[in-house]
Symmetry: C2
Subunit: 221 residues, 2 copies
DNA sequence: TCATGTGAAAGAATTCACAGCA
DNA sequence: TGCTGTGAATTCTTTCACATGA
Protein backbone atom coordinates (compact mmCIF):
# COMPACT_ATOMS: atom_id res chain seq x y z
CA UNK A 1 0.00 0.00 0.00
CA UNK A 2 2.30 2.70 1.21
CA UNK A 3 5.82 1.44 1.78
CA UNK A 4 7.17 3.21 -1.26
CA UNK A 5 9.63 4.99 0.95
CA UNK A 6 12.55 2.76 1.58
CA UNK A 7 12.91 1.63 5.14
CA UNK A 8 16.36 1.96 6.73
CA UNK A 9 18.05 -1.31 7.45
CA UNK A 10 18.33 -0.84 11.24
CA UNK A 11 14.62 -0.18 11.28
CA UNK A 12 13.83 -3.35 9.33
CA UNK A 13 15.73 -5.38 11.91
CA UNK A 14 13.71 -3.91 14.70
CA UNK A 15 10.45 -4.34 12.80
CA UNK A 16 11.16 -8.07 12.77
CA UNK A 17 11.61 -7.99 16.51
CA UNK A 18 8.38 -6.06 17.00
CA UNK A 19 6.65 -8.55 14.78
CA UNK A 20 7.83 -11.43 16.91
CA UNK A 21 6.96 -9.72 20.17
CA UNK A 22 3.50 -8.80 18.92
CA UNK A 23 2.94 -12.36 17.79
CA UNK A 24 3.64 -13.63 21.27
CA UNK A 25 1.40 -11.04 22.84
CA UNK A 26 -1.34 -11.73 20.35
CA UNK A 27 -1.34 -15.41 21.18
CA UNK A 28 -2.14 -14.51 24.78
CA UNK A 29 -4.60 -11.70 24.18
CA UNK A 30 -5.68 -10.83 20.69
CA UNK A 31 -7.51 -7.70 21.82
CA UNK A 32 -4.55 -6.23 23.60
CA UNK A 33 -2.99 -2.89 22.87
CA UNK A 34 0.62 -1.98 23.49
CA UNK A 35 2.21 1.42 23.81
CA UNK A 36 5.52 2.29 22.22
CA UNK A 37 6.99 2.26 25.70
CA UNK A 38 5.79 -1.25 26.48
CA UNK A 39 7.06 -2.57 23.20
CA UNK A 40 10.35 -0.79 23.65
CA UNK A 41 10.86 -2.02 27.20
CA UNK A 42 10.29 -5.59 26.13
CA UNK A 43 13.02 -5.37 23.53
CA UNK A 44 15.40 -2.83 24.95
CA UNK A 45 14.62 0.17 22.75
CA UNK A 46 13.43 3.65 23.59
CA UNK A 47 9.80 4.57 23.06
CA UNK A 48 10.78 7.26 20.60
CA UNK A 49 12.71 4.71 18.61
CA UNK A 50 9.71 2.43 18.45
CA UNK A 51 7.40 5.21 17.29
CA UNK A 52 9.81 6.36 14.62
CA UNK A 53 10.12 2.81 13.34
CA UNK A 54 6.41 2.20 13.33
CA UNK A 55 5.83 5.40 11.41
CA UNK A 56 7.20 3.53 8.39
CA UNK A 57 4.42 1.01 8.75
CA UNK A 58 1.70 3.62 8.74
CA UNK A 59 -0.32 5.63 11.21
CA UNK A 60 -1.64 2.77 13.22
CA UNK A 61 -1.41 4.05 16.76
CA UNK A 62 -4.05 5.75 18.83
CA UNK A 63 -2.97 8.63 21.05
CA UNK A 64 -3.70 7.88 24.66
CA UNK A 65 -4.17 4.20 23.89
CA UNK A 66 -1.26 2.72 21.98
CA UNK A 67 -1.21 0.26 19.12
CA UNK A 68 -3.65 -2.56 18.52
CA UNK A 69 -1.55 -5.69 18.76
CA UNK A 70 -3.52 -7.49 16.10
CA UNK A 71 -3.64 -4.62 13.65
CA UNK A 72 0.04 -3.85 13.99
CA UNK A 73 1.00 -7.50 13.74
CA UNK A 74 -0.99 -7.92 10.54
CA UNK A 75 0.51 -4.84 8.99
CA UNK A 76 4.02 -5.85 9.87
CA UNK A 77 3.41 -9.27 8.44
CA UNK A 78 2.56 -7.77 5.10
CA UNK A 79 5.43 -5.32 5.06
CA UNK A 80 7.98 -7.90 6.08
CA UNK A 81 6.81 -10.25 3.38
CA UNK A 82 5.59 -12.83 5.84
CA UNK A 83 2.15 -13.06 4.26
CA UNK A 84 3.53 -15.36 1.62
CA UNK A 85 5.50 -18.56 1.50
CA UNK A 86 9.23 -18.66 0.76
CA UNK A 87 10.99 -21.54 -0.91
CA UNK A 88 14.67 -21.99 -0.42
CA UNK A 89 17.31 -24.27 -1.87
CA UNK A 90 20.10 -25.34 0.46
CA UNK A 91 23.52 -26.05 -0.96
CA UNK A 92 25.82 -27.91 1.37
CA UNK A 93 24.58 -30.66 3.67
CA UNK A 94 27.37 -30.38 6.19
CA UNK A 95 26.92 -29.49 9.81
CA UNK A 96 25.45 -26.08 9.31
CA UNK A 97 23.19 -27.34 6.56
CA UNK A 98 21.88 -30.12 8.76
CA UNK A 99 21.23 -27.74 11.61
CA UNK A 100 19.18 -25.54 9.32
CA UNK A 101 17.23 -28.47 7.95
CA UNK A 102 16.14 -29.46 11.40
CA UNK A 103 15.34 -25.96 12.52
CA UNK A 104 11.64 -26.23 13.18
CA UNK A 105 11.09 -22.54 13.44
CA UNK A 106 11.53 -22.02 9.73
CA UNK A 107 8.54 -24.10 8.74
CA UNK A 108 6.33 -22.29 11.19
CA UNK A 109 7.35 -19.05 9.60
CA UNK A 110 6.63 -20.09 6.06
CA UNK A 111 10.23 -20.62 5.07
CA UNK A 112 10.55 -23.95 3.31
CA UNK A 113 13.78 -25.58 2.35
CA UNK A 114 12.54 -27.59 -0.59
CA UNK A 115 15.79 -28.83 -2.13
CA UNK A 116 19.11 -29.86 -0.68
CA UNK A 117 22.29 -30.27 -2.71
CA UNK A 118 25.72 -31.60 -1.91
CA UNK A 119 28.77 -32.77 -3.81
CA UNK A 120 29.77 -35.56 -1.47
CA UNK A 121 28.97 -38.98 -3.00
CA UNK A 122 28.55 -40.40 0.48
CA UNK A 123 25.85 -37.90 1.27
CA UNK A 124 24.05 -37.70 -2.05
CA UNK A 125 20.95 -39.85 -2.01
CA UNK A 126 20.69 -39.96 1.75
CA UNK A 127 17.77 -38.44 3.58
CA UNK A 128 18.20 -35.64 6.10
CA UNK A 129 15.25 -34.34 8.02
CA UNK A 130 12.93 -35.89 5.46
CA UNK A 131 14.61 -34.31 2.49
CA UNK A 132 16.75 -36.34 0.17
CA UNK A 133 20.10 -34.91 -0.77
CA UNK A 134 20.53 -34.22 -4.48
CA UNK A 135 23.70 -34.16 -6.52
CA UNK A 136 24.99 -30.63 -6.90
CA UNK A 137 25.40 -31.27 -10.60
CA UNK A 138 21.63 -31.45 -10.81
CA UNK A 139 21.17 -27.97 -9.44
CA UNK A 140 20.23 -26.28 -12.69
CA UNK A 141 17.95 -29.07 -13.80
CA UNK A 142 16.19 -29.28 -10.45
CA UNK A 143 15.70 -25.59 -9.97
CA UNK A 144 15.22 -24.42 -13.53
CA UNK A 145 11.48 -23.99 -13.30
CA UNK A 146 11.01 -24.46 -9.59
CA UNK A 147 10.52 -20.79 -8.84
CA UNK A 148 12.80 -21.01 -5.85
CA UNK A 149 13.06 -17.68 -4.11
CA UNK A 150 16.09 -18.00 -1.89
CA UNK A 151 19.40 -19.81 -1.86
CA UNK A 152 21.26 -20.87 1.25
CA UNK A 153 24.98 -21.40 0.83
CA UNK A 154 26.60 -23.66 3.42
CA UNK A 155 29.65 -24.85 1.51
CA UNK A 156 33.38 -24.26 2.01
CA UNK A 157 34.55 -20.74 1.30
CA UNK A 158 36.31 -21.55 -1.92
CA UNK A 159 33.13 -22.93 -3.51
CA UNK A 160 30.79 -20.19 -2.36
CA UNK A 161 31.16 -17.77 -5.26
CA UNK A 162 30.58 -20.41 -7.91
CA UNK A 163 27.50 -21.71 -6.13
CA UNK A 164 26.17 -18.19 -5.78
CA UNK A 165 26.45 -17.68 -9.50
CA UNK A 166 24.68 -20.91 -10.24
CA UNK A 167 21.87 -20.06 -7.86
CA UNK A 168 21.46 -16.64 -9.39
CA UNK A 169 21.50 -18.31 -12.77
CA UNK A 170 18.36 -20.23 -11.92
CA UNK A 171 16.70 -17.12 -10.63
CA UNK A 172 16.94 -16.91 -6.87
CA UNK A 173 16.47 -13.36 -5.67
CA UNK A 174 18.27 -13.62 -2.38
CA UNK A 175 21.12 -15.57 -0.83
CA UNK A 176 21.86 -16.44 2.75
CA UNK A 177 25.59 -17.04 2.86
CA UNK A 178 27.24 -19.02 5.64
CA UNK A 179 30.61 -19.22 3.93
CA UNK A 180 33.22 -16.83 5.29
CA UNK A 181 33.71 -15.19 1.96
CA UNK A 182 32.28 -12.09 0.33
CA UNK A 183 30.07 -12.86 -2.63
CA UNK A 184 30.31 -10.68 -5.69
CA UNK A 185 26.88 -10.52 -7.20
CA UNK A 186 24.74 -8.17 -9.18
CA UNK A 187 23.10 -5.59 -7.01
CA UNK A 188 19.68 -6.85 -7.89
CA UNK A 189 20.36 -9.91 -5.77
CA UNK A 190 20.13 -9.56 -2.01
CA UNK A 191 22.88 -11.19 0.01
CA UNK A 192 23.04 -11.61 3.76
CA UNK A 193 26.08 -13.10 5.40
CA UNK A 194 26.18 -15.12 8.58
CA UNK A 195 29.70 -15.62 9.81
CA UNK A 196 30.21 -17.41 13.12
CA UNK A 197 33.91 -16.75 13.30
CA UNK A 198 33.33 -13.08 12.78
CA UNK A 199 30.66 -13.02 15.43
CA UNK A 200 32.81 -14.82 17.98
CA UNK A 201 35.58 -12.41 17.18
CA UNK A 202 33.34 -9.43 17.83
CA UNK A 203 32.42 -10.96 21.14
CA UNK A 204 36.01 -11.65 22.05
CA UNK A 205 36.92 -8.07 21.24
CA UNK A 206 34.24 -6.71 23.50
CA UNK A 207 35.19 -8.99 26.35
CA UNK A 208 38.87 -8.39 25.86
CA UNK A 209 38.94 -4.74 26.69
CA UNK A 210 36.18 -2.93 24.96
CA UNK A 211 34.63 -2.90 28.39
CA UNK A 212 31.37 -3.71 26.68
CA UNK A 213 29.50 -0.77 25.26
CA UNK A 214 26.03 -0.93 26.83
CA UNK A 215 24.42 0.73 23.85
CA UNK A 216 25.43 -2.20 21.69
CA UNK A 217 24.72 -4.92 24.11
CA UNK A 218 21.62 -6.48 22.68
CA UNK A 219 22.90 -6.09 19.20
CA UNK A 220 21.72 -8.78 16.92
CA UNK A 221 24.60 -9.90 14.88
CA UNK B 1 49.19 0.29 24.02
CA UNK B 2 46.97 2.83 22.39
CA UNK B 3 43.46 1.59 21.89
CA UNK B 4 42.10 3.60 24.78
CA UNK B 5 39.76 5.31 22.38
CA UNK B 6 36.79 3.13 21.90
CA UNK B 7 36.44 1.74 18.43
CA UNK B 8 33.02 2.04 16.81
CA UNK B 9 31.24 -1.24 16.36
CA UNK B 10 30.99 -1.08 12.54
CA UNK B 11 34.72 -0.54 12.46
CA UNK B 12 35.41 -3.55 14.67
CA UNK B 13 33.44 -5.71 12.26
CA UNK B 14 35.52 -4.54 9.38
CA UNK B 15 38.76 -4.91 11.30
CA UNK B 16 37.94 -8.60 11.62
CA UNK B 17 37.50 -8.81 7.89
CA UNK B 18 40.78 -7.03 7.26
CA UNK B 19 42.45 -9.39 9.67
CA UNK B 20 41.16 -12.40 7.77
CA UNK B 21 42.11 -10.97 4.39
CA UNK B 22 45.60 -10.08 5.57
CA UNK B 23 46.04 -13.55 7.00
CA UNK B 24 45.32 -15.08 3.61
CA UNK B 25 47.64 -12.68 1.87
CA UNK B 26 50.35 -13.26 4.42
CA UNK B 27 50.22 -17.00 3.88
CA UNK B 28 51.06 -16.41 0.23
CA UNK B 29 53.60 -13.64 0.62
CA UNK B 30 54.72 -12.53 4.04
CA UNK B 31 56.65 -9.56 2.68
CA UNK B 32 53.73 -8.14 0.77
CA UNK B 33 52.28 -4.70 1.22
CA UNK B 34 48.71 -3.74 0.51
CA UNK B 35 47.22 -0.32 -0.11
CA UNK B 36 43.93 0.76 1.38
CA UNK B 37 42.48 0.49 -2.09
CA UNK B 38 43.57 -3.10 -2.57
CA UNK B 39 42.26 -4.11 0.81
CA UNK B 40 39.02 -2.26 0.19
CA UNK B 41 38.48 -3.75 -3.25
CA UNK B 42 38.92 -7.25 -1.89
CA UNK B 43 36.19 -6.73 0.67
CA UNK B 44 33.91 -4.23 -0.96
CA UNK B 45 34.76 -1.10 1.00
CA UNK B 46 36.07 2.25 -0.14
CA UNK B 47 39.73 3.08 0.33
CA UNK B 48 38.82 5.99 2.56
CA UNK B 49 36.82 3.69 4.75
CA UNK B 50 39.75 1.35 5.12
CA UNK B 51 42.13 4.12 6.06
CA UNK B 52 39.73 5.58 8.60
CA UNK B 53 39.31 2.16 10.17
CA UNK B 54 43.00 1.44 10.26
CA UNK B 55 43.67 4.77 11.91
CA UNK B 56 42.24 3.19 15.07
CA UNK B 57 44.96 0.58 14.93
CA UNK B 58 47.75 3.10 14.74
CA UNK B 59 49.82 4.85 12.13
CA UNK B 60 51.07 1.79 10.35
CA UNK B 61 50.86 2.81 6.73
CA UNK B 62 53.57 4.23 4.54
CA UNK B 63 52.58 6.95 2.08
CA UNK B 64 53.32 5.88 -1.45
CA UNK B 65 53.66 2.26 -0.39
CA UNK B 66 50.73 1.02 1.62
CA UNK B 67 50.59 -1.20 4.69
CA UNK B 68 52.92 -4.02 5.53
CA UNK B 69 50.73 -7.11 5.53
CA UNK B 70 52.64 -8.75 8.35
CA UNK B 71 52.83 -5.69 10.55
CA UNK B 72 49.18 -4.85 10.13
CA UNK B 73 48.13 -8.45 10.66
CA UNK B 74 50.07 -8.67 13.90
CA UNK B 75 48.67 -5.43 15.18
CA UNK B 76 45.13 -6.39 14.37
CA UNK B 77 45.64 -9.70 16.08
CA UNK B 78 46.51 -7.98 19.29
CA UNK B 79 43.72 -5.44 19.11
CA UNK B 80 41.09 -8.01 18.28
CA UNK B 81 42.17 -10.17 21.17
CA UNK B 82 43.32 -12.97 18.93
CA UNK B 83 46.74 -13.20 20.51
CA UNK B 84 45.30 -15.27 23.30
CA UNK B 85 43.22 -18.37 23.66
CA UNK B 86 39.49 -18.30 24.39
CA UNK B 87 37.63 -21.00 26.25
CA UNK B 88 33.93 -21.36 25.78
CA UNK B 89 31.22 -23.46 27.37
CA UNK B 90 28.40 -24.59 25.11
CA UNK B 91 24.95 -25.08 26.58
CA UNK B 92 22.58 -27.04 24.39
CA UNK B 93 23.73 -29.98 22.29
CA UNK B 94 20.95 -29.78 19.75
CA UNK B 95 21.45 -29.19 16.07
CA UNK B 96 23.02 -25.80 16.33
CA UNK B 97 25.24 -26.91 19.16
CA UNK B 98 26.45 -29.90 17.18
CA UNK B 99 27.19 -27.75 14.16
CA UNK B 100 29.30 -25.46 16.29
CA UNK B 101 31.15 -28.36 17.87
CA UNK B 102 32.23 -29.63 14.51
CA UNK B 103 33.15 -26.24 13.15
CA UNK B 104 36.86 -26.68 12.52
CA UNK B 105 37.54 -23.06 12.00
CA UNK B 106 37.08 -22.26 15.67
CA UNK B 107 40.00 -24.35 16.81
CA UNK B 108 42.27 -22.77 14.26
CA UNK B 109 41.36 -19.40 15.60
CA UNK B 110 42.04 -20.22 19.21
CA UNK B 111 38.43 -20.54 20.23
CA UNK B 112 37.99 -23.73 22.21
CA UNK B 113 34.69 -25.18 23.28
CA UNK B 114 35.86 -27.02 26.36
CA UNK B 115 32.57 -28.03 27.96
CA UNK B 116 29.23 -29.05 26.59
CA UNK B 117 26.03 -29.21 28.63
CA UNK B 118 22.55 -30.48 27.91
CA UNK B 119 19.47 -31.41 29.88
CA UNK B 120 18.38 -34.34 27.74
CA UNK B 121 19.08 -37.64 29.51
CA UNK B 122 19.43 -39.34 26.15
CA UNK B 123 22.24 -36.98 25.19
CA UNK B 124 24.03 -36.60 28.50
CA UNK B 125 27.04 -38.86 28.62
CA UNK B 126 27.31 -39.23 24.88
CA UNK B 127 30.27 -37.96 22.95
CA UNK B 128 29.95 -35.32 20.25
CA UNK B 129 32.95 -34.27 18.24
CA UNK B 130 35.21 -35.71 20.91
CA UNK B 131 33.58 -33.88 23.78
CA UNK B 132 31.37 -35.66 26.20
CA UNK B 133 28.06 -34.05 27.03
CA UNK B 134 27.66 -33.07 30.67
CA UNK B 135 24.49 -32.76 32.70
CA UNK B 136 23.33 -29.17 32.84
CA UNK B 137 22.89 -29.54 36.57
CA UNK B 138 26.66 -29.84 36.79
CA UNK B 139 27.22 -26.48 35.17
CA UNK B 140 28.20 -24.59 38.29
CA UNK B 141 30.42 -27.35 39.61
CA UNK B 142 32.16 -27.87 36.29
CA UNK B 143 32.77 -24.24 35.55
CA UNK B 144 33.29 -22.84 39.03
CA UNK B 145 37.05 -22.55 38.77
CA UNK B 146 37.51 -23.30 35.12
CA UNK B 147 38.11 -19.71 34.12
CA UNK B 148 35.83 -20.07 31.14
CA UNK B 149 35.70 -16.86 29.14
CA UNK B 150 32.64 -17.24 26.95
CA UNK B 151 29.28 -18.94 27.03
CA UNK B 152 27.38 -20.16 24.01
CA UNK B 153 23.65 -20.53 24.45
CA UNK B 154 21.95 -22.91 22.04
CA UNK B 155 18.86 -23.85 24.02
CA UNK B 156 15.16 -23.15 23.48
CA UNK B 157 14.10 -19.55 23.92
CA UNK B 158 12.31 -20.08 27.20
CA UNK B 159 15.45 -21.45 28.88
CA UNK B 160 17.88 -18.88 27.55
CA UNK B 161 17.59 -16.23 30.26
CA UNK B 162 18.09 -18.72 33.09
CA UNK B 163 21.12 -20.24 31.41
CA UNK B 164 22.57 -16.80 30.81
CA UNK B 165 22.30 -16.01 34.48
CA UNK B 166 23.96 -19.25 35.47
CA UNK B 167 26.80 -18.66 33.03
CA UNK B 168 27.32 -15.17 34.32
CA UNK B 169 27.22 -16.58 37.82
CA UNK B 170 30.31 -18.66 37.10
CA UNK B 171 32.07 -15.71 35.61
CA UNK B 172 31.84 -15.77 31.84
CA UNK B 173 32.44 -12.33 30.38
CA UNK B 174 30.61 -12.75 27.11
CA UNK B 175 27.71 -14.72 25.69
CA UNK B 176 26.93 -15.82 22.19
CA UNK B 177 23.19 -16.30 22.11
CA UNK B 178 21.46 -18.41 19.48
CA UNK B 179 18.09 -18.37 21.21
CA UNK B 180 15.57 -15.99 19.65
CA UNK B 181 15.16 -14.09 22.87
CA UNK B 182 16.68 -10.92 24.25
CA UNK B 183 18.86 -11.56 27.27
CA UNK B 184 18.69 -9.17 30.16
CA UNK B 185 22.12 -9.02 31.67
CA UNK B 186 24.34 -6.61 33.48
CA UNK B 187 26.06 -4.25 31.11
CA UNK B 188 29.45 -5.57 32.11
CA UNK B 189 28.65 -8.76 30.21
CA UNK B 190 28.90 -8.67 26.43
CA UNK B 191 26.10 -10.35 24.53
CA UNK B 192 25.92 -11.04 20.84
CA UNK B 193 22.84 -12.55 19.29
CA UNK B 194 22.66 -14.80 16.27
CA UNK B 195 19.14 -15.24 15.07
CA UNK B 196 18.56 -17.25 11.91
CA UNK B 197 14.88 -16.48 11.69
CA UNK B 198 15.59 -12.81 11.93
CA UNK B 199 18.25 -13.02 9.28
CA UNK B 200 16.05 -14.93 6.88
CA UNK B 201 13.36 -12.39 7.50
CA UNK B 202 15.68 -9.53 6.61
CA UNK B 203 16.55 -11.33 3.44
CA UNK B 204 12.93 -11.97 2.58
CA UNK B 205 12.13 -8.33 3.11
CA UNK B 206 14.86 -7.22 0.76
CA UNK B 207 13.84 -9.67 -1.90
CA UNK B 208 10.16 -8.94 -1.46
CA UNK B 209 10.21 -5.36 -2.59
CA UNK B 210 12.98 -3.49 -0.94
CA UNK B 211 14.54 -3.76 -4.36
CA UNK B 212 17.79 -4.53 -2.65
CA UNK B 213 19.78 -1.54 -1.53
CA UNK B 214 23.22 -1.94 -3.11
CA UNK B 215 24.93 -0.13 -0.28
CA UNK B 216 23.81 -2.84 2.09
CA UNK B 217 24.43 -5.76 -0.13
CA UNK B 218 27.47 -7.31 1.44
CA UNK B 219 26.26 -6.58 4.89
CA UNK B 220 27.31 -9.12 7.40
CA UNK B 221 24.35 -9.95 9.47
C1' DT C 1 -3.63 12.42 31.66
C1' DC C 2 -1.63 9.26 28.48
C1' DA C 3 0.49 8.26 24.24
C1' DT C 4 1.08 9.16 19.24
C1' DG C 5 3.44 11.37 15.33
C1' DT C 6 6.88 14.38 13.83
C1' DG C 7 9.78 18.40 13.12
C1' DA C 8 14.23 19.89 15.07
C1' DA C 9 18.58 18.80 17.31
C1' DA C 10 22.17 15.83 18.29
C1' DG C 11 25.07 12.15 17.46
C1' DA C 12 27.42 8.49 14.42
C1' DA C 13 29.35 6.82 10.47
C1' DT C 14 30.78 7.48 5.83
C1' DT C 15 32.63 9.93 2.04
C1' DC C 16 35.19 13.72 0.21
C1' DA C 17 39.24 16.03 -0.78
C1' DC C 18 43.65 17.39 -0.08
C1' DA C 19 48.18 18.38 2.36
C1' DG C 20 52.23 15.98 2.86
C1' DC C 21 55.49 12.23 2.64
C1' DA C 22 58.20 8.45 -0.05
C1' DT D 1 53.41 9.71 -8.98
C1' DG D 2 51.25 6.81 -5.41
C1' DC D 3 49.30 6.49 -1.16
C1' DT D 4 48.56 7.74 3.76
C1' DG D 5 46.26 10.35 7.43
C1' DT D 6 42.85 13.51 8.55
C1' DG D 7 39.92 17.64 8.89
C1' DA D 8 35.52 19.06 6.63
C1' DA D 9 31.30 17.96 4.49
C1' DT D 10 27.74 14.79 4.00
C1' DT D 11 24.59 11.36 4.97
C1' DC D 12 22.39 8.33 8.10
C1' DT D 13 20.32 7.25 12.67
C1' DT D 14 18.78 8.23 17.13
C1' DT D 15 17.05 11.19 20.62
C1' DC D 16 14.52 15.15 22.08
C1' DA D 17 10.54 17.73 22.86
C1' DC D 18 6.12 19.13 22.01
C1' DA D 19 1.63 19.93 19.50
C1' DT D 20 -2.26 17.24 19.01
C1' DG D 21 -5.82 13.68 19.77
C1' DA D 22 -8.45 10.28 22.78
Amino acid sequence: MDLKAKIPSPTVKRLSLYFRELGERRAVDSDATMSSRQLGDALGFSDAQVRKDLAFVGQLGHPGVGYSVTLLHDNLRRILGRDRSWEAALVGAGNIGRALLSYRRFEVQNFHITRVFDNNPATIGSTISERSVLDISELERELADAGTHLGIIAVPAQDAQAIAERLIGVGVGGILNFAPRRLEVDESVAVLNVDFSLTLEQLAFQVNLGRNDPAREGESS
